[in-house]
Symmetry: C2
Subunit: 425 residues, 2 copies
């Protein structure tokens, strides 16, 4: 295993190497690790190192807004690849690349940015088979993969309805002292399939130790690591010495690998419980039915989308004839997330309201939710392409807040959706 010269202390690099070897098991021998100042800084360094102005880069059709904001001033053009419940589809990636016309579209992309686990914003999670298929396409078209993977350990698995869950919880708690079983239960990361050194994996401590620690590491081939280190020398140099001292002392010295992995396992448990809580609560506040067909391209066929309606049992209390009339029309669609910290929803309430000229449905919903006290991330932030008028998406974070606050937030959602159906907003 090679190592770059800078980018952090020996202790950080030793820890990163040991952890990467144990958890991600890269598919080749001479991979390197290099400290960075958080995955946003790391993504910037990858794009600045690998791309030239005018280049196109491949991204999921819904993606982390920061990568779009990073790419634009560099003169890079994000090219979206369609998604399903596992994130980016191999079929659409193949389509984009095989039909690429350099005369019309400029140079074919040679870099991909992807968030394969707990995808931001959709919460999609990519399994081994899909990753292998995408990796193979990247080999054929010579694409470098930037795997931004801060949510890797928040793999919550499929949502199980509350009534069916106790047995499941019991079986989960049984393997709490089985770190090897936990590691095996995780979807593999791209480096596992990387036999050509074309993956740059980005790890971060921000989602697993403390937000704002501005510290993580690259795992990639030593040639890339050396170049990334050179750019680091004229920008961040290394993660903060305080971050390094505190985090490495905690995870490597005080805890050690076994306890740290146990911590990650508990963290997954906590996020699973939060995911379950918000999906359970949506079922309590709305009537939720599986989608019979597809519900828009952003909601895939491979995982069942759920559609939320006004709760039938509350209709009789309603004196509003419009609400009664609209009780069978969908409010929003969602897929219970299988990883990460976000619930992604598609709103269908545009039919109940008339937008002002220039106003978008996303803004309209966003503002009405904020007025009632719920702040969501408007879907437009995450969209590589222009949305069609009347389309609206939103991202709800369940990473923060008490159960009471999450409940309160979802009650706001219910109240505002009901207002739409009554035609008063």
């Amino acid at each position: 295993m090679a190592n770059a010269s800078g980018g952090g202390t020996i202790q950080l690099h030793e820890f990163a190497r040991e952890f990467t070897l144990k958890i991600y098991t890269p598919g080749y021998g001479d991979w390197a690790v290099l400290g960075h100042s958080g995955n946003v800084e790391a993504t910037f360094r990858c794009l600045a190192t690998l791309c030239n102005p005018g280049d196109s880069i491949l991204v999921e059709e819904w993606t982390f807004p920061s990568v779009l904001a990073t790419a634009k001033p560099m003169g890079l053009k994000p090219v979206s690849v369609k998604m399903d419940g596992q994130g980016m589809t191999a079929a659409d990636l193949e389509r984009v690349l095989s039909t690429w016309n350099e005369n019309l579209q400029g140079k074919r992309p040679h870099v991909m940015y992807t968030v394969p686990i707990g995808q931001n914003p959709t919460g999609a999670q990519m399994g081994a088979k899909r990753k292998l298929a995408i990796y193979d396409i990247c080999v054929r078209y010579d694409i470098i993969i930037i795997e931004d993977d801060p949510y890797y350990f928040l793999q919550e698995g499929a949502y199980v309805p509350k009534a069916l869950r106790p047995a499941k919880i019991q079986s989960q708690s049984e393997d709490v002292d089985d770190p090897e079983g936990f590691i095996k239960s995780l979807a593999p990361s791209y480096p596992k399939f990387d036999y050509q050194g074309r993956v740059i994996r980005l790890d971060s401590f921000s989602k697993i130790i403390a937000p704002g620690s501005r510290m993580g590491w690259f795992t990639c081939n030593p040639v890339f690591a050396e170049r990334l280190d050179r750019l680091g020398e004229t920008t961040t140099q290394a993660p903060s010495g305080f971050s390094q001292a505190i985090i490495i002392q905690l995870v490597a010295k005080q805890w050690g690998m076994k306890k740290f992995i146990r911590w990650l396992q508990d963290l997954r448990g906590e996020y699973t419980s939060r995911r379950d809580f918000i999906i359970d609560t949506i079922h309590e506040l709305f009537d939720v039915l599986p989608s019979s067909g597809t519900s828009g391209e952003s909601f895939p066929e491979s995982l069942p989308s759920m559609i939320a309606y006004i709760k039938e049992s509350t209709i009789s209390e309603s004196k509003d004839s419009k609400v009664v009339m609209n009780r069978k029309t969908p409010l929003f669609t969602f897929i219970p997330p299988t990883s990460g910290m976000f619930l992604w929803i598609k709103f269908h309430v545009g039919q109940y309201t008339i937008l002002k000229p220039g106003e978008t449905l996303t803004e309209h919903i966003f503002i009405n939710l904020v007025k009632e006290g719920l702040l969501i991330a408007p879907g437009t932030l995450f969209s590589v392409n222009e949305l069609e008028s009347g389309e609206a998406f939103g991202r709800i974070a369940f990473s923060n807040g008490s159960r009471e606050q999450l409940l309160e937030g979802l009650k706001v959602l219910e109240r505002v959706m009901r207002k739409y159906t009554s035609g008063i907003i």
Copy 2:
């Protein structure tokens, strides 16, 4: 006072505002502060924000290597301005700008990068009059000044020979409890003269609290601050939360402003003592005489340069006829630094040795010093322009190491210089 939205906690920004107002007293009202991840990162952000590929930027003829390494991949062309004992000269700046030929040289520079106090590598310190003259030129030619000033508090003052010093030390220790007197004793920073908002001042905690803290702040006009913050959002976001928590807790909460300034005063005292120690030691190990004329453009007329020779009193012990013969020829020239942590020296030993083809005198000296155990920074690192063959400079840091180690290092310097004069290397 306006403030940017990101780049750190409210506590960091409050502290930075209070400190800036107290120490640097900017010349206009609506200046902003913004946290950054160290002055190297901050310089990168300034250049990336203010410059386009192909632009020329003004720098001192000897400058911090990192800014050269930052500028080059951005396609920026550093243009050197001649220096004297106060750093960049106003006369040469005026010459560079007034004789600029856009047909031959491309667009006239609109950005200057300068280290005005404890200049790296020369240790030069710029006073109020020079700064005002340079600022006025920048007004006329519309130049933005990036003031990289991490050594601001290490203003050691003129070197006083050991025999004359006790009284001076006593008078210094008398005002240890006079923070206002200490502040008044410091050369002003560019923002004091900045009535147009054309200065971006970079403060860092790395030289005054802990190296590697990767934390400091910009002081500049709010329009620049907003733009610098936008680039921060897609790179470092904010300094490490751990750095912010620890440093601000220490300086703002535990110490408070008065004790922090006292700390800075003590720090100046420690660096003054170190500077005195190495210059005293050079006087002990060498015969040191003031230069009668000028000793090369890098050593100014406005401060007396000192020339070091083989110590006459050791010659009688020498059995080497060449050393005896060469005892009146200069070994190196230096100016006792008045601020910062570096001693800059120009070597004259090229006359005693024959270089291999392709070898530079700088390399030759560097390697011979390293062999004996002294690591200096080779002058070529800091040079904007190509050195003439036979020219060699070096930077000696006195920031680190015990007095014993500093003494040992200077003894190596003496031994190696003597070897040159004896013709054996």
